[in-house]
Every structure is written in structure tokens, then in C-alpha cells.
Symmetry: C3
């Protein structure tokens, strides 16, 4: 498929087979079904929590969104990268390979961090969404190195990036202010439950973890997925700099049909982004709101992308690369704040700005990155994920800091930001500060992790 892959003869088969065997062993040792996917577990959970309907199983709240996210990872990211005439099939196939390995490894690493208890990782539908999210950040980074990395190198990058992603996510969502009393919550809050039914406490805790203990909010992954993935990829491509690389967009260009294939990727990403940003939000109004905010932001983004694409091109023609990419920036940038009370017009404003930033980035910033900083960003991920991801982090921090009891209601404020237990005295402005810290950590992890 790619001329350079002479090492594929032995190395690729060996890596695939040995790593898959390792997965089997690690899954055998660690991975079990959680209370909602285990036959005995669900039976018990229903009895103990007085659940009368199977409709209460988390599966039905999240599975449709999971499938949309799944399409985004495999068809969305895969086909988005087919615009390069020569690498169309390679882009789809290698994206397929990295994602298939990545989701397995992500189930393990994220499981160790989030749903590990009594020596077992407990998985359910939310684990699958989490694994797909994690792999999404690798797909983003892949966009920067497309065309100058072999499949084996890609698998190694996946192994490393998934691990670092999960560490970063753990820091943001669980650790960032452990000092404020997280330990107390951990050790006291669940003790009673554990005493009564020790076998299902892990699962109860998992639920509570999801519902109650997210320190930095980032349901759509503006920081953890997009900012992290983009800057990680940019660092990797900077290291792999090739002076004579001929597959830059200007020289290689796209052909008519490859642009239509790429548009399949764009549209599935654009259409399903509301599911992406709402997939792991709390049940009820939060998922509902996250979908609406994302829908609005994406719509606004299309108009400003078209405006600036036309404005900055000779003769006012639209540039297909902008339509294929910058129209998605609005989804990236509401990733953190979509589940908050960002409101529809707030979302429009974010989309409005990101369409402009992203399009301008393609026109001026990508050439600058390549000529001055020797960073070859094949797919322009800095414009689609890097800058919008940072904007998303900031929007999230501001929205959190601006939260008031008037808008959220007293209960709502507590529920939205988990101001419970030892966090009950926390204020929205402090939350905003933590959100801002989350941006810095994600950026730092990506820049530090890429080279190693």
C-alpha cells in the first residue's frame, strides 16, 4: 500500500499477533462485565435498587450515542483523510487498524484508572464510549503524520498515546484537586454500601464516579481528546520532519472523487457530533442539552467557514479543504461546555468564532507551521482540533465560572458540577479555575509526551 513499508514483511505480523495475544491474556486476567452487563449482576442490581424496568439499564441511555461515536471514529475520521489522492485507501485501512487495536488497549488502561476494584476492570457501554473517545485522539494525531509513518510505527504511537491520554484524563477528571477532600469521599462515602453488598460495590462506585466525582468537566473532550490529540500529533510530526516530503496539500492536491469520499467523512462527523458531546453526560437534561448546544454551534460554524473560505480565496471560490474541515470546529469547541447551560446563542457565538479561526488557520497558519517551524500538518489538525480545542477549554472554564444559582437552580448547580460532599462549599469561579488548569495540563502532557 505504501512504498516504504518494506518492514511490513515480518514486523507488522509479529506486532499484531503478539500484541493481540497480550490483549487476550490481560483481558482474561482483568476484564469482567459490570453490574449492568452481567447476568447475575443486573439481577441483583434490579432487586437492590428497586429497578422495575430494564429500560433503566445504562445501555438504553447510551447505546445509540455509542453507535454514532463509533461511526465517527471509523467512517468519520477514516474517510475525512481520504482527500489525498494517493493515500485514500491507506488512510481508511490504517485508521481501521489503529482504532481496532486502540480500543482494546484503551479498555484496559482506562479501566485500570476508572473502574478497577478488587483486581478486576468492570466494563459496560460507557467503557466502549470511553475507549472510542480515547482512540479518537489517536485518529486526530494520525491526521498530522498521514503519509510518513508505517503501520508498525502507527501501532507504537497508538500504544503510547492511549496510555498518556488515560493518564491525562485521570489527572483532569479524578485527581486535579484530590487535596480538596477526594480521599475523604472515597473512603467514607461508599463504606456502607461495601459492607452491605461487597461484591457489587465496585459497580455502584463506578456509577457514582460517573455521576458525582468528575473534577474537571469535559464530557465532549475539548481538552482531553482534541487539544491533547492535536498537540501530541503535532509534536510527533515535528520530530518526523521530512524536508522533501511531497505529499503536502499544495503539491498533491485532491481529485474530484476523493473530495466526495472525504465529504462522507466530514458529514458523518458533523451530523453525529451532537451524540459525541452528549454520549457520557448525565442522564436526562444534560444529554438533551449537550445535543442541542452542539447542533447549534455546528450550524453557525458552517456559515462562517463558507464566508471566510470565499473571502480568502482568489475569485471567491470555495476551498474544499475548508468545507471538509473547518465546518467541524464548532463541535470541537463546545466539547467541554455543551452539557452546561451554554445556551443556544452561546453555542452560536462559539461556532461563529471557530469557523473563522479554523479557516484562517488553514490559509495562513498551516503554511507558517511548515515553513517556519518545520511542522508538517498533513490534514491541518491544528486548525480543526488544536485551536478549537483550546477555545473549547476556555469556553468551558468561562461557562463554569459564570454559572449562577439563578440559571441552574440550587439543586442544578450541585448536580451540574458535583458540588457534593467535601466539594459542597466550592463555587463556580473556583470550578472555572480548575477547568483552566485542565487546559494547561492537557497541553503540557501532549507537548511533553509526544517526544518521548
Amino acid at each position: 500500500m505504501m512504498a516504504r513499508n518494506t518492514d511490513m514483511r515480518w514486523r507488522l505480523p509479529l506486532v499484531c499477533l503478539l500484541w493481540e495475544l497480550a490483549m487476550i491474556i490481560l483481558f482474561g486476567v482483568f476484564v469482567r462485565f459490570n453490574a449492568e452487563s452481567d447476568i447475575a449482576g443486573w439481577e441483583k442490581a434490579k432487586q437492590e435498587k428497586n429497578i422495575t424496568s430494564d429500560a433503566e439499564n445504562d445501555f438504553y441511555f447510551r447505546y445509540p450515542s455509542f453507535q454514532d461515536v463509533h461511526v465517527m471514529i471509523f467512517v468519520g475520521f477514516g474517510f475525512l483523510m481520504t482527500f489525498l489522492q494517493r493515500y485514500g485507501f491507506g488512510a481508511v485501512a490504517f485508521n481501521f487498524l489503529l482504532a481496532a487495536f486502540g480500543i482494546q488497549w484503551a479498555l484496559l488502561v482506562q479501566g485500570w484508572f476508572h473502574t478497577f476494584e478488587n483486581g478486576k476492570i468492570l466494563i459496560g457501554v460507557e467503557s466502549m464510549i470511553g475507549a472510542d473517545f480515547c482512540v479518537g485522539s489517536v485518529c486526530i494525531a494520525f491526521g498530522a503524520v498521514l503519509g510518513k509513518i508505517s503501520p508498525v510505527q502507527l501501532l507504537i504511537m497508538t500504544l503510547f498515546q492511549v496510555t498518556l491520554f488515560s493518564v491525562n484524563e485521570y489527572i483532569l477528571l479524578d485527581l486535579l484537586h484530590e487535596t480538596l477532600g477526594n480521599i475523604a469521599l472515597h473512603t467514607s462515602g461508599f463504606r456502607a454500601a461495601r459492607l452491605v453488598r461487597p461484591d457489587w460495590a465496585p459497580s455502584l462506585q463506578r456509577r457514582c464516579n460517573n455521576d458525582k466525582q468528575r473534577k474537571v468537566k469535559d464530557a465532549g473532550g475539548s481538552m482531553t481528546i482534541h487539544t491533547f490529540g492535536a498537540y501530541f500529533g503535532l509534536v510527533v510530526t515535528a520530530i518526523l520532519y521530512r524536508p522533501n516530503l511531497e505529499q503536502t496539500k499544495d503539491k498533491q492536491g485532491s481529485v474530484y472523487h476523493s473530495d466526495l469520499f472525504s465529504m462522507i467523512g466530514t458529514l458523518f462527523l458533523w451530523m453525529y457530533w451532537p451524540s459525541f458531546n452528549s454520549a457520557i453526560s448525565d442522564h436526562g437534561d444534560a444529554q438533551h442539552r449537550a445535543a442541542i448546544n452542539t447542533y447549534c454551534s455546528l450550524a453557525a460554524c458552517v456559515l462562517t467557514t463558507v464566508a471566510f473560505s470565499s473571502l480568502l480565496q482568489k475569485k471567491g471560490k470555495l476551498n474544499m479543504v475548508h468545507i471538509q474541515n473547518a465546518t467541524l470546529a464548532g463541535g470541537v469547541a463546545v466539547g467541554t461546555a455543551a452539557e452546561m447551560m451554554l445556551t443556544a446563542y452561546g453555542s452560536l457565538i462559539v461556532g461563529f468564532i471557530c469557523g473563522i479561526v479554523s479557516t484562517v488557520g488553514f490559509v495562513y497558519f498551516t503554511p507558517f507551521l511548515e515553513s517556519k517551524l518545520r511542522i508538517q500538518d498533513t490534514c491541518g489538525i491544528h486548525n480543526l482540533h488544536g485551536m478549537p480545542g483550546l477555545i473549547g477549554g476556555i469556553v468551558g472554564a468561562v461557562t463554569a465560572a459564570a454559572a449562577t444559582e439563578g440559571v441552574y437552580g440550587k439543586e442544578g448547580l450541585i448536580r451540574a458540577f458535583d458540588f457534593t460532599g467535601d466539594f459542597s462549599h466550592r463555587t463556580p469561579s473556583v470550578q472555572g479555575g480548575f477547568q483552566a488548569a485542565g487546559i494547561a495540563v492537557s497541553l503540557g502532557m501532549a507537548l511533553a509526551g509526544g517526544p518521548s
Copy 2:
């Protein structure tokens, strides 16, 4: 992208930016979350209505269908129009642009008509479906003028058509027989609720509006979406008649790969049409039934399309344009009646007829329209949406008029047609009459609105 768009240099960017700014201002003034997507609102709604499970949030009843509809609008209609070799990318990109603007404007206009109270538009998942539906009618009209309209003209057409669509929909669903006591219902029915909890009355009313007050039933939009969109588009294309237009199907034709791209559009429309027709039906059996009826009608339509396509072509070969378009007519034509007790065999009959009507239309009627009436119907929307939409309106009227207590049950009849309050004495045959009136109004609005 298109040679003619020399005006894009300034006009397109200006229109996009100014209109988007207008959207932000209008959304800021008017649009708020409804009770099911607002954090404080859902909290209150659960308490007041004794809702114990988040599964009762309207989001979970409609979001999967919304996503399917969303795919139909952006991938379905977008790719369906790629069969013209030269306008493939333009079709997808301009469809993307018009739909992204259209859904914002539709949220506003439909909001003012349907969910406006205390000076605010309250939006939720059903608003998003409604906006997508409204934009669907613009996508249909776009099919008639594909290749002879600039992006700016397209946006102007969208602005105007969305407005008129909403007026027409308002007349059909809310006004058509206001005289029969709608005012009384409005002023008395909700007074109590408003007195007790004035802040959430709007949302209660919205629910009731959806559940109870639809005067003409048209859940799948045979009349409001398809008939209206098609005839609106035909009027516009008649006005924009170009004697020397060379992109008619015969001269331009399609190439092999553009036919496969077009087939992607066809299939996603075909597969997701059951979601389209059931998306805003009442919860429970109505959504269930609408999906089944549409599934049956579409299946039958494929067989008669193939039969007549083969019959009317030289050498019995299939015509790809028929397969791409006429197979969908069955979905259009059960749009009104799908949620009623049309029954599976009734749906088969409708699909059977529409496959024939639509295919015959492509062979004989489209050339006639162009040569005699100077109406250039690029994509053949008269065959796919115009005639099947009219048939759908008639089927709906007949099905409603034929409703009996024996089939629907006493409660069912009331529930299906909202024979409550001052409508409690209405009979199915009167309902059938109003349905028929709805067809005439839709047709009239489209024919009158197109020229202006």
C-alpha cells in the same frame, strides 16, 4: 466551484456573516431551553409530574430518530444530487450550506409559531427534528434548481421558503379550524396550570400542543414537506428558466462513480425513512406503527419501480435514475397516514402505486414539463416529492375518514385524532375533510409563494 459565481467574492461572505450575526442576536433575545433540556426545568418537571426516571425525558424517545433524520438531510439529500457528474461536490456542499443556515432560521420561525410563550422560544429535541424537517423541504426544492442558482440566491430562497413553510405548517396544524373552538381551548385549558406554576406553563403547553392540538395530521410531512417543497421548487425553477441550459439529464448524464455516490444518498434516505415518518408521532404505539407502515410501503415501491423502469426502457435495462429516486416515493406517500391505522397491506398498496407513478413520471412527465411548460426539473422532484406528496395527502385524508371505533377503539380514536375538548364531537369523516383542505392549502401556498 461553479463558473457563474463571480458574485461570491463579496456577496457570499457578507450574507453569511451578517445573517449569522442576526441569528446570534435573535437566538440571544428569544431562544431558551425547554423544560426537558433545562437543568432547573427538568428538576422541577420531575418533581411536579412525579417522573421517577430520566428515561421519561423526551430526548430518549426521539433522539435516535432525530439522528436518522439528520443523516437524511445532509447525506441523503446531499448525495442523492451527486449523480450529475459536474455538480457532485457543489450539490453536497451547497446542500450543507443551505441546511446549516436553514435549521437555525427554522428553529426561530417554527419556535415563534409553536413554542413561543412569555416572549421566549423554548427548544428541545422535537424542535431540532422540526427544523430538520423544514430544511428538508428546501433541500427538495433545491433539487429542481440545481445547477442554475448561486449560493447567495440559494440562501435567499432558504430564508423565504423556511418562513413560508412554517406559516403553512402553522395553518395546517394549528389554525385550520380555529373557528371550531381552538381559542376556547387555548384560553381555558391551561389557565389552571398557569396559575399554579406560571414559569413552566409554556412547556406544559408545548407538550399539549404536540400531543393534543394538531388539527391536520401530517407527522411525516407528505403535505407540509414534500408537496409544499416540490411545488415551491418547481415554481422557482420555472421562473429561472434558461433556454440553453446544458445540464439536463439527457445531455449531461451521469458517470459510473457518480451513480454509486448518488446511491449512497438513495439508500440512507430509504433506510431511515421509517424514522422520518415516526420521529414526531406520539410516544408508544404511534411511533411503532409509523415505522412499520413506512417500512412496508418502501419495500413495495422498490419492486414496482424496477418493474416499470425495466418495462419502459429500451432492451429492458434498468435506468439508474429511477432506482435512485422512484424507490423512495413510497416513503413520501405514507408520510401523513403512517402513524394512523393504515395497516401493512394498505402501505403496500400505496408503495405499489407510487413506484409506478413516480417511474412513469420520470419517463413521460419530466420531458413534458421541460418542453411544454418550460419547467426544468433537474432532479425530477415532481416525480419523487410532488406527485407522491399529493397522493400521501389523499391517502391521509381517506385513512382518517375511514377510521372507525372498531379498529381504533374508543380511546384510540380520540387519542389518534385529538378529538378532545371542543373537538370531542368531531367525526373521522370531518377530519378527512380537513385533511383534504390541508392538501389544497399546501399546494396553494407553494404555488403562490414561489414567485414572490
Copy 3:
């Protein structure tokens, strides 16, 4: 479309029209809505079973999965077969035709076997999934004869195969050990219910049929769909052997864009397979678990496919046909066991093995079949559905036989395998035996049915 179809002039239109008329008549006589899609029926069901929420309607548990399955049948199988340069459009269009007819006939035949009572077939969302499943097996068989069968022959094959599929399914799921007391269950279990509310007994029984009486478990159809479909198709293609057929893969090959189209089919099959295997499982943990197991198996399968594709090709390059097909074998092979407690690592092992078996099959077995046994397997369905389907049957038998109360819990074991009523004394190892018998029956039916 195909040079050979000179008989299409009259035969194809006649067959399509007459058969569709027959469908209308048969649907008119037999098909009615079931209790959950009928307006009066759902009203009654809610009252009688104290159902307080429309969320309990089976529609909401299964419709999202149905839509995913629907995409697999029409886009998945349709586009998967577009890799042959010359038959791309034909593959999609004929797949469309056969599936549209097949689902109607399947609704009837499966209805007569499974939901027939008081002279009527009662249909609901599960009927639509069942019909799509049944048609899936025809799509599989179509893959073997692609390029050497006319549309009329294809429709005849569909008519026959759908019938035989349903007979086979009936034997496996309902009859296989009628001797053990099924009759008793039928005649006693529901008598009370029937006496109290005779009109809705059929629907109650249908629910019970689904929930309680499946003798051989095969929710994802490893045996009934894949094994049966593949061997049926192979027998048909052996009979239709053409010595000079020039459309074998080696001679015809694929071109760049047709490979990308084919990849659309592959990815939609791959992504939605978890929905396929969980679509008709029991509500709650079973659907949840089936999705997770399938997700894991498919991920593992990709890695071993890549490994062996690279290993067995000259220069270590990946073969696109393997990526397009063998990556799916993992989904086929957990079809039977996915809803059982196969566990995530068990699924990985199955996927690991099937990726290897399927890829090796493409390299060595398909040429052998053609040269020695004169079986031309155009799309390699023996490698994708035949062998993995058999493996899936065996995995199901072993998993069932290995079930213990320790893993499933006492209640869970009864619920998972329906050890109720007269089956209450059955053991997992006996269940394993019946599962094995199911494989033999499916294989026998396919091999015997193909020639006739």
C-alpha cells in the same frame, strides 16, 4: 446493466408486479399490528400489565438496533460487493431489489411460523428485525453468485431461500426438542391468560415465545443466518458453474475507487455488528452483553487479519480484499454466543482465531474451491460467513455447555437458557448438545436446499 439480461424485457416486470400483488393480497389476509404497534392493543396492554410508561414499548428497546441492522443489509452488504469494477452498481441495485422483496416475504413466512394466532400474523419491531436477518442470509448467498445470475433468477432464489431459512429457524428455535415437553408448555402455560383476555393472548404468547421458548439459542444468527446462507449460496454457485467465467477476482480485480466504495460497506457492517448480535436478545443485560462481546471480537479480528494478510502476501503488502472481508469474521463467529457469558477475553479469542481462518481461507481455500470443486465463490463468502459461522455454532455450543450457576447465578441460568416449565430439569451440557445439533441441521438444510 448486465449484458445477459435479455429476459428482463418482460420477465422481470411481470415477476415484480405479480409477486408484489401477491404480497398485497397475502398481507391483506394475514398481517395485522401486534399489541405494541396497534392503537387499541397498546392501550389494553398498558392497562392489563400495569405499564405506566410508553418507554416500555418494545419499539424503544429495539428500534435503534433495527436501524443499524437495516443499514447493514442495504448499505453494508450492497457496498461490500462493489469491489468488482464492473458490477458495482449492479451489486448495490440487485441487492436492493432482493432485499426489498425478501423482507416482505420473510414477514409472511416467519410470521406464519412464529407469531401466527387466530389466523393472523402479528407484526412489530422484532418482526422487522427478523425479516432483515432472514434477508441477510440471502445477501450472503448472493455474494457467491454475483455476476452470473439474472435479477429474475435472484428473485426466485430469494423466494426459495427465505422460505427454507424460516423452516430451518423454526426447527432450531422452536422444534428441535419438542419431544421434551414443548407441547405441554404450549397447551398449559398460556391457557389461563387466554381465558382472561382471549383477544390479546396471541401477543402475550409472542412475547413469551421470544422470551422463553427458544430451544437453540442463536440471537446473532451464526448458524441460522451465516452458516445457512453461505452454504446455500455455495451450493447454488456450484450448480451454476461457468467454466469460462471471467469475473473471478484475479482477472477482474478492483480499481482504486471501487475499493473505497467497498470499504464503506465493510465499515458499516463492522461498526453496526454489535447491534446485529444484540438486536433480538432479551432486554437489559443480555443486549448490553451481546454488544460488548461483539465489539471485542471484531477488534481482535482486525489485528489477526492484518497480520496474516501481510504475512501471506508478496512483499508484505496488505491485500484489500482481506481487509474488506476477513475483518468481519469475528462478528459472525460470536453470533450465537454473544448474549451468553462469553466474556470479553473469550470474544477476543474467537476474533483472534477467525481473522486467521478467514484470511487463510481467502489465500488458499477459495482457489482450491474453484479449481478442484468447481465452486466459484465470487465474494469469498465461505471465508467470511461459512467457516466463521460454523466456528460460531461451535463456540455457542461450548459456551452453553460450560455455563455454571457460579457464573450465571441460579436465576440467571434459567433466564439465559429458558430452563423453565418442562425444561426446568435441563442442564447446560444438554443445552450444548442441542446447540451442536443446530449446527448440523443448518448445514444440512443449506446443502439439501440449494439444489432443489
